[in-house]
């Protein structure tokens, strides 16, 4: 099958073009470096032939700085046809890649001149026919997010041609300058509202105020949507519709049978308790669907809006100085944000980082100090009755750990921490369909990845209890659990299950009747000590076995020290 490769600078809408062409679902955001691997899709071109389309990470030039860019460079050679996606708002810089590309590779190509809507908004007009004649290949103007021009693009694929571009490297900018001069007209426009807002959001003082407001609003939006979904949708569905059905099944099975224990779990006061029964059909579905999903949904809705508007790179600038204290630069903030949704995409996003040091520190820190949304949702179920101070305590502890461990890692990890250099995207209104699609993709990923693991987790818990293994482990680890962490020996079950799923692990604390101090200690330890299995596998792949072992040892030691310290300090404070 013929292969078509999408090539272009970062953050100019390659993924959006890809998903329009193929109908396939890939994540597109408004910051450089959204795509870190490559995605394949199938397209039927006019005439009925099927071709394979590859969406690859963005590159600025033919020299790779990060691992993601290396992926891109390796993929170019694979293409039979190139779609060079060019940002209409920044023709000169984009043509720099175009001329290098066609000087080196003699592959038939077309240009998709994307973001024409924003260009027009900025007073930029480009004569596509002239550009096409100058370069010697078809040029189609597109607005990938809305789908404009995509049909023409597909139609022109059969007309793809090899451009004749030859120049001396010293003459490169003159050549590009001449082309731009000839095809582009720029009218001066007064700064738009978005541009003024952009200035404010990177202002050293106003920007911080702005950031606090944004984060505060984000936090409350996530909380209100999440809580409302649980209270008004999920809980009624489970309690009113699902529970009677489950009670019937429970009675039919007989309360003391093994099957009952596995499917329904233990009855609390003669009835099913979705939080405490721990059967596959009861707690196994209640945790992912009723407790976690609402928060995962609201988190991804807010994150997707922040991404598509283009706010996150600006936050990266503001926090750059802080991030340098822990050996990273501002853009690592994006990985950290993604990790709050789920550590897996967070770990994958480290590929845009240039050095091993940055990747190691970012991965280790997110695994140690950033609880995923599934875990946070479960924690809020437990800590909710203590109100905001409880959350401030927990996240305060995790922030100190993040900063402290980060500073130590920065000191003792060899290697360089490059400086921030980021193209700040224009703010733009998110397209509702694009947002909806992206949130849906992320939710679907959660449902397909999380539910099986939760069910396996719940099943294993039951088996471990039935076989008496849990009790045995409780006795073995009792000294650490009780003396160091001040938790009841049964908490070992949560720690064991945490290797599989953190949300189930937190859920297992529910029946233990822990006090405030114990809840804080347990939540802290469960966050720090080890990543869940899905994250572990990704980290192992990204870091390699040696760094993963190092990282894991750091996690275990940190959990012991911090868990113990928090316990003792809270006891001393009389909490």
């Amino acid at each position: 099958m013929k292969k078509i490769v999408l090539i272009g600078n970062p953050n100019i809408g390659k993924s959006a073009v890809f998903s329009r062409l193929t109908g396939a679902k890939v994540i597109a955001s408004n910051y450089p470096g959204t795509t870190v691997g490559y995605t394949k899709g199938i397209l039927r071109i006019p005439g009925g032939e099927k071709v394979e389309i590859l969406d690859i990470p963005g590159i600025y030039s033919l020299e790779a700085a990060s691992r993601a860019e290396q992926v891109a460079l390796n993929m170019i050679k694979e293409g039979n046809i190139i779609i060079n996606v060019v940002d209409a708002t920044n023709l000169e810089r984009n043509l720099n890649l175009t001329v290098q590309l066609f000087k080196k590779f003699r592959i038939p190509a077309v240009i998709a001149l994307n973001m024409m809507d924003i260009a027009r908004h900025h007073g930029i007009t480009i004569d596509t026919e002239k550009l096409s004649r100058k370069l010697g290949l078809p040029v189609i103007s597109t607005v990938a997010l809305s789908g404009q021009g995509i049909k023409e693009l597909t139609g022109q694929l059969t007309n793809a041609s090899i451009p004749e571009i030859n120049f001396d490297d010293k003459e490169k900018w003159n050549l590009i300058g001449a082309i731009v001069e000839d095809v582009q007209k720029t009218e001066h426009r007064h700064p738009t509202f978005a541009e003024k807002l952009s200035d404010i959001s990177v202002h050293p003082i106003l920007g911080l105020v702005f950031a606090l407001i944004i984060l505060y609003i984000s936090f409350w939006t996530i909380r209100i949507i999440g809580e409302s979904l649980i209270r008004f949708v999920m809980d009624p569905v489970f309690n009113v519709l699902y529970e009677p059905l489950l009670e019937n099944i429970s009675n039919a099975l007989g309360h003391d049978t093994l099957v009952h224990k596995i499917l329904i779990g233990n009855l609390v006061n003669e009835s099913i308790d979705f939080r405490q029964s721990f059967g596959l059909l009861s707690t196994g579905f209640y945790i992912p669907l009723a407790e976690v999903l609402p928060y995962v949904f609201s988190f991804y809705l807010v994150l997707t809006l922040l991404e598509d508007i283009g706010y996150l790179p600006r936050l990266g600038i503001l926090l750059d100085k802080l991030m340098h204290k822990i050996g990273l630069h501002g853009l690592s903030v994006i990985s950290m944000f993604l990790a709050f949704g789920c550590n897996v995409p967070g770990a994958l996003a480290t590929r845009i980082l240039e050095t091993r040091k940055e990747r190691f520190i970012t991965s280790t820190l997110m695994a140690i100090a950033i609880p995923c949304m599934a875990q946070i949702a479960m924690i809020s179920g437990l800590l909710g009755k203590y109100g905001p101070p409880a959350f401030l305590t927990l996240f305060g502890i995790l922030f100190i750990v993040w900063l402290g461990v980060g500073m130590i890692l920065n000191r003792y990890t060899k290697g360089e921490s490059p400086e921030i250099l980021v193209d700040i995207p224009h703010y733009h209104y998110p397209y509702p369909t694009a947002v909806a699609k992206k949130v849906w993709m992320r939710i679907r990923y959660f449902i397909s990845e999380a539910i099986p693991f939760v069910l396996i987790g719940v099943f294993i818990v039951t088996i471990l209890y039935i076989t008496g293994f849990m009790e045995f482990m409780g006795k073995v680890f009792a000294p650490v659990i009780t003396k160091v962490f001040g938790l009841p020996p049964e908490a070992i079950s949560a720690i064991l299950v945490g290797f599989l799923r953190k949300d189930v692990a937190i859920g297992m604390l529910a029946p233990l009747d822990l006090n405030f101090r114990q809840l804080i200690v347990a939540s802290t330890v469960l966050t720090i000590y080890f990543p869940c299995v899905a994250t572990f596998i990704v980290l192992l792949k990204e870091l390699g076995i040696r760094d993963m072992i190092k990282s894991a040892l750091i996690m275990l030691c940190t959990a012991l020290i911090i868990g113990g310290a928090v316990n003792w300090i809270m006891i001393l404070l009389g909490l």
Binding site: R93, N96, W173, H329, E419
Partner: protein, 82 residues
């Protein structure tokens, strides 16, 4: 001669005040830094405007060709201005 003087004085992006404009004279740095900056349109001859800078030698935001670009203090110091 004037060129040499300018180089001597080494006016870099750091010396620009906020909202001040200038033309890039040269970029003093390794091949890697030069190509990274060039890829974002930061190269000799270009008109550049410093928009603002974060405190404590934090990164700055510049405008070039109607685009905003954020760059760290060390890189900022490599961009000579005339």
């Amino acid at each position: 001669m004037i060129n040499a003087l300018e180089k001597e004085m080494k006016i870099t992006l750091v010396n620009l005040t906020n909202n001040e404009e200038g033309f890039i004279l040269s970029i003093e740095g390794g091949r890697n830094a030069i190509s990274k900056l060039e890829a974002l349109g930061i190269r000799p001859g270009k008109k550049i405007r410093k928009m603002n800078s974060q405190i404590f030698r934090g990164p700055i935001v510049i405008e070039i060709d109607g685009r905003d670009i954020g760059l760290g203090y060390g890189l900022e110091n490599k961009v000579l201005i005339k």
